[in-house]
């Protein structure tokens, strides 16, 4: 019995040593340890900040010390952001570092407006002189964070992470640093954006270090290490927010590392997203470049399978796009307002209405990259392309018709029946809402535009960009604060790093440039979606892409701004508020951007360079025959 005991003890010792020895080497244990202790550091930084608030309130500290304490809190957060925002994005958004804007409660049985919380809201208070009534607000905001951190930490300690997830977290964080970090998205007032990015950047290298070690002294590990170092030095060397050269930082460090981290992941043979996740992700994990056509996963946005019938669907969709039989009077088609010769917009402020007298309500957007969206229309009223199409079909000012009529017309054509059969053999060629919309989506899926000179430069191609374009990019991503709404790499309101959500903004676009009157369109507030009937969605409109903006004048939802210069001027003034008009809930800061004429020009030149219309659509030479309709004008009459 005693011997058995000693043996057991010995075994226990061996196991424990074995375990302890390995614990040092197991990358995931290291990462988990880093994460948990980082969370605890965050919690104690919060306590210190709370203490600072008390001290400052008593007059024992100045506001600059309070700002420093807040900066430390944010640095603590940035050290673990890549894991926390990957593992618990909802906690981050709801409680810790969400945008400082009110939102509606999700999945609640009535409209509940949630006031913003977390560090971005706190920052809004800290960089102006504190008013007496704001002390309580500050204390309440920090208390709320404290309450939330307790269960977040408790949960993090107990829940598992896998190696695969570390790689995903790091690569997603590279996108975050590029699109939201160095642009100052979450710390607009502190001027600490680049410093914070340096902290976040360093944390990524710490997270991957055990994996580089695991790989051994291979070239890949060395290359990755050098890139982390170089990037960190570049960030640390930045003189200030405005002058940081984002273009070269992305080209030299972010883009290469995005690919290299994937290489390391695959070399170490950990599973990748497609092996654990049955659905589609907004991005292709296996893409090695952010500024490339294969970065986004179109199938996520459209449900369109790249199968054997896709070609037939595209062919059919192209016919339908130019088919005037979709409108009541056989005289209008999609191309009426989305002309391939005008980058699939129409050059008008507002498109001509069905009755040829008035106009439709808003400006026709370009269709390039239009499918990469969560919601459609300027007011975000449609959550899928089927619904988008439906609004056009039924709208009295657009196609002024209905499904029955359209289906009957298409059914009457032998050629269309055949094309539907070829495209949808699984459904026996049924002509219905689904097949109509899917064919149209298939055609639009060809309208990709991610290959501008700027994209090519960013991903490392040996091409020359003019100094003015370079300056314009850096302004767009920095001082001019364009990219904090028009997020790279889509340059639209598709929010990184998950790309699941479209943002809308309240700018107070005027009736005409400098008209001194805000355009009366309610936008999202009156889009018919009950969950959007919140006051802060009044005059709120979808943030469109600025890709190909060179071809899509006039601008804004009302098409009232004839050129880019007038648009930039509006922003430079700080929107409606900046122009002295009244607009509750404007989401654009009201202060002037302080851009001089050379800077404005550089921005314009950069946006013009963000053009790629290589996937041109052309009018088809013929449309399928419809019986009794010899006058069948391709693309419609008007």
């Amino acid at each position: 019995m005693k011997r058995l005991g000693i043996l057991s003890l010995f075994l226990l010792l061996v196991f424990s040593l074995h375990y302890a020895a390995h614990k040092q080497e197991v990358p995931i244990e290291k990462v988990k340890g880093y994460y948990v202790s980082g969370l605890e550091d965050l919690h104690s930084s919060l306590k210190q900040f709370q203490n600072s608030i008390r001290e400052c309130r008593m007059g024992r500290q100045g506001q600059s010390e309070l700002q420093q304490s807040f900066a430390n809190l944010r640095f603590s957060y940035k050290k673990i952001e890549f894991l926390l925002d990957y593992l618990q994005p909802q906690d981050v958004k709801d409680h810790l570092n969400g945008a400082p804007l009110p939102k509606t409660e999700r999945n609640a049985p009535r409209l509940v407006v949630l006031e913003p919380k977390g560090m971005q809201k706190i920052e809004e208070l800290l960089y102006d002189p504190l008013l007496p009534e704001q002390w309580k607000e500050l204390q309440d905001l920090t208390k709320a964070m404290d309450y939330q951190l307790t269960p977040i930490i408790a949960f993090a300690k107990r829940s598992p992470i896998s190696d695969r997830q570390v790689f995903e977290a790091v690569r997603i964080a590279l996108v975050r640093i590029m699109s939201m970090g160095i642009t100052g998205f979450d710390t607009p007032a502190s001027s600490n954006a680049i410093k914070e990015s340096a902290v976040a950047w360093e944390s990524l290298s710490i997270g991957l270090e055990p994996y580089c070690q695991k790989l051994g002294e291979a070239n890949l590990a060395q290359e990755i290490k050098l890139k982390w170092q170089g990037g960190l030095e570049t960030l640390k060397a930045a003189k200030d927010f405005d002058s940081f050269d984002r273009l070269n930082f992305i080209r030299q460090y972010v883009e290469p590392l995005y690919g290299l981290c994937l290489d390391l992941h695959l070399k170490l043979a950990y599973e990748t997203a497609s092996e654990v996740y049955r659905g589609q992700l907004p991005f292709n994990y296996r893409a090695s470049s952010i500024f490339s056509e294969d970065f986004f996963n179109l199938q996520y946005y459209t449900g369109l399978k790249p199968d054997a019938h896709l070609k037939a669907k595209v062919k059919l969709g192209r016919m339908l796009f130019f088919e005037p039989a979709l409108s009541a009077n056989f005289e209008r088609s999609c191309a009426s307002c989305h002309d391939p010769k005008k980058a699939f917009a129409d050059g008008r402020a507002k498109s001509l209405a069905f009755d040829q007298k008035g106009t439709v309500d808003r400006n026709a957007p370009s269709l390039y990259n239009a499918l990469y969206a969560e919601k459609f229309f300027h007011d975000l009223r449609a959550d899928r392309m089927e619904a988008q199409m439906e609004h056009v079909i039924f709208n009295e000012k657009e196609f002024a018709t209905n499904y029955h009529t359209i289906f009957a017309r298409l059914e009457s054509s032998e050629e269309y029946r055949r094309m539907f059969k070829e495209a949808f053999p699984d459904f026996n060629g049924a002509i219905n809402r689904h097949s109509l919309s899917e064919a149209m989506v298939a055609y639009l899926s060809g309208l990709k535009s991610f290959n501008s000179p700027v994209d090519r430069y960013l991903r490392g191609d040996e091409i020359v960009l003019s100094e003015e374009v370079k300056q314009g990019f850096n302004l767009f991503m920095g001082k001019a604060a364009c990219a904090t709404c028009h997020f790279a790499p889509s340059f639209s309101g598709l929010v990184p790093p998950w790309f699941e959500e479209n943002e809308s903004e309240v700018l107070g676009v005027l009736k005409k440039p400098l008209a001194n009157e805000i355009d009366g369109d309610w936008g999202r507030y009156k889009n018919g979606v009950v969950q959007d009937e919140a006051p802060f969605y009044k005059h709120s409109f979808k943030t469109p892409t600025v890709r190909n903006v060179a071809y899509t004048a006039p601008y804004f939802h009302n098409g009232a701004y004839p050129d880019l210069a007038s648009v930039l001027e509006f922003y430079n003034h700080g929107g409606a508020l900046g122009l002295g008009l009244e607009l509750p809930n404007q989401t654009l800061p009201a202060d002037s951007l302080g851009l001089d004429s050379a800077e404005l020009k550089a921005l314009e030149v950069f946006m013009e360079a963000l053009s790629d219309t290589t996937n041109r659509g052309a009018y088809p030479l013929n449309l399928p025959q419809l019986p009794g309709r010899p006058q069948h004008l391709i693309g419609g009459k008007y």
């Binding site: 003890l9 196991f15 424990s16 995931i28 990957y86 618990q88 049985p109 269960p151 949960f155 950990y270």
Partner: protein, 610 residues
């Protein structure tokens, strides 16, 4: 000593499990591993009713003639009415949880009804052609609310009564006419309608009362599924953000839940069985002396219009969002779906005299330890992430937690069982009796994805349908068996069993558009054959300690004899899937063919999927 030794081994095991990477390819030639066969599923799955795709027959509405229209979406509750007098199986009623204008179906939400019979050869369901007495012909029919009782909105849960009568619940609270998608927002008179729109089906005792249009929302509304028309709004049960209800076998007693924080649990007792137009209405107060049901005078219309305020004034018991209610074996069960931080939502009612349900007091006491300070359910810290299933026992008048959601890992489930074992924000709740045995059907929703309600990071985020054997006493999450999950982005709702115990019907609601057709639309699904299958894994499925697998062909689940990491390889030895720390996996994505399954220790077995 032995215990210590075991724990040391367990530690080593933990480390091994987390460090493994499976080779991207394995050599599958020249060897013959143990082969496990997965027979074809004996279950038949049918997609009966596709929102936005199937056409429904409509009545003459808003000056438009009777005709057809594409069905509304957002399928929620499913009611089932047996065809006792005919040869068909019965009528299926499906709620549309939306508020949208529609020229033919009517504004607001709505319902679609259709009739099914069984194919005698396969037991699968066939949708029957019908001609209704108003002349409508077809398969699917829009229930006419606009011309009968006034429009409805956000038709969420509902009630299937003991005789198959159907009520639909109007959940989303309408606070003013601006909240409606109605073209006609004129004042509404019960029994006549608005000035422009006639709605003659009134309610005894309330006819002639004139209310704002929005006040004609948020009732339980009875419909006649055989004629696709509404019968009446149940004004005597109060105006509440109803989600669900259940009628007891006596056909007199109705239990009702309201989806709000605070959510009240209410009761109606009819004077005569089957006549729900007269009787008494009560609200639950667990700490009331004597009866725990306090009457709210339903002859006073203003009390019915302001039911929540009445409940507060009598000090009723507060729950955190009550969803569906079901009667099983004489007891009443209801889901309390939870709200992350409910504190501020019921603090005012608490101050005004309403009381917290005892389990919330107990939870707050537990959480006081976590926060190291005393907190109560109205404290800002108090959290209720996962929700639960509650039990109400009419014999004692007490409510208690029947099944607590999770994971919080400190109690249930164990980390090694997560994410296979979890229950996040239960919502829909119903029952099925299979071969004489009662089962509960629990539908998940997701109020959020944090704290493990879905696995973290990039992972499968689905809502699941669980079945629970009601003969298990004191069940835990481990006793739940997953029988279905819905496409990405969808909520699973409405599950109900047919009275013959053969079919479970459920809805997939608001799926992501990234799913291929028809899974990008709301769907009513029927799975048939439950009378011929084993649910879960038999107790004697495994012997010994060697790596073993047991497939359940019906639910397409592969069970292992211990928790492990596994990789699935295709017939050529290429890695397809990796699962970490699992006791069972879903293999419904594996088409018929040969696969290889490797565990943490590198042991490999062949899987032959038929």
């Amino acid at each position: 000593m032995k215990k210590l030794l075991l724990s040391a081994v367990a530690l080593a095991g933990t480390f091994a499990a987390s460090a493994q990477s499976f080779s991207p390819e394995i050599d599958v030639t020249n060897w013959e591993p143990t082969t496990i066969m997965v027979p074809p599923s004996p279950l038949i799955t049918q997609y009966l009713f596709i929102g936005g795709h199937h056409k429904v027959q409509t009545t003459a509405t808003y000056g438009n003639g009777a005709g057809e229209a594409l069905a509304k979406q957002w399928h929620d509750f499913i009611g089932f009415t047996p065809d006792n007098n005919g040869s068909d199986l019965g009528w299926i009623s499906v709620n549309h949880e939306m508020v949208v204008a529609n020229d033919s179906i009517g504004d607001g939400g709505g319902m679609t009804v259709f009739k099914v019979r069984r194919d005698p050869a396969t037991d699968s369901l066939i949708i029957v052609d019908q001609t209704l007495s108003d002349g409508r012909q077809g398969k699917f029919f829009a229930v006419d609310f606009a011309n009968t009782v006034g429009e409805t909105g956000m038709n969420c849960g509902g009630i299937t009564g003991p005789t198959g009568r159907i009520w639909t619940a109007e959940e989303w609270w309408r606070g003013g006419n601006g909240d409606l998608a109605d073209r006609d927002t004129g004042d509404f008179t019960i029994g006549t309608g608005t000035a422009n729109q006639s709605a003659p089906n009134g309610f005894p005792g309330f006819n002639g009362q004139t209310i704002k249009k929005y006040q004609n929302y948020n009732y339980m509304v009875e419909i006649d599924p055989t004629e696709a028309v509404a019968v009446r709004k149940q004004y005597n049960w109060g105006r509440q953000p109803f989600e669900g209800g259940a009628i007891m076998p006596d056909n007199k007693t109705v239990y009702l839940g309201s989806d709000a924080t605070p959510g009240f649990f209410s009761k109606f007792v009819a004077d005569n069985a089957g006549d729900f137009t007269s009787g008494s209405t009560y609200v639950y107060k667990h700490d009331a002396p004597g009866s725990k049901w306090v009457e709210i005078d339903n002859s006073d219309f203003s009390k019915m219009l302001n039911f929540d305020a009445e409940a507060v004034s009598v000090g009723a018991t507060m729950f955190n969002r009550i969803e569906w209610v079901v009667e099983i074996g004489g007891k009443v069960y209801f889901t309390e779906t939870g709200r992350d931080n409910p504190g501020s939502r019921w603090a005012g009612e608490k101050a005004a005299g309403a009381v917290f349900a005892p389990h919330h007091i107990a939870r707050a006491a537990d959480q006081s330890l976590e926060f190291n300070k005393t907190i109560s359910p109205d404290s800002a810290q108090y959290w209720d992430y996962y929700g639960r299933v509650m039990e109400y026992d009419p014999a004692t008048g007490n409510t208690s937690v029947f099944l607590e959601g999770g994971p919080y890992f400190s109690v249930d489930p164990a980390i090694a069982q997560y994410p296979n074992v979890h229950l996040s924000n239960p919502d829909g709740l119903n029952k099925i009796t299979i071969n004489g045995k009662d089962y509960m059907l629990i539908n998940e929703d997701l109020n959020g994805s944090s704290k493990g309600r879905t696995p973290a990071g990039i992972s499968n985020r689905t809502c699941e349908l669980y079945i629970l054997d009601m003969s298990i006493s004191n069940p835990t999450l481990n006793d739940l068996v997953r029988i279905a999950y819905v496409p990405v982005g969808a909520e699973i709702t409405g599950a109900i069993g047919t009275p013959d115990g053969k079919t479970i019907l459920f809805n997939s609601q608001h799926p992501s558009t990234s799913n291929p057709f028809p899974f990008n639309n709301s769907l009513t699904v029927a799975i048939t054959g439950w009378d011929n299958v084993t649910i879960g894994v038999p107790e004697n499925a495994f012997e010994g300690d060697l790596f073993q697998m047991y497939p359940n062909p019906a639910t397409r689940t592969l069970y292992f004899n211990k928790s492990t990491d596994v990789a699935i390889y295709d017939v050529n030895g290429k890695r397809m899937n990796v699962y970490r720390n699992v006791e069972n996996i879903d293999i419904s994505h594996l088409r018929p063919g040969v696969y290889f399954v490797q565990n943490t220790e590198g042991e490999t077995q062949k899987l032959l999927v038929k």
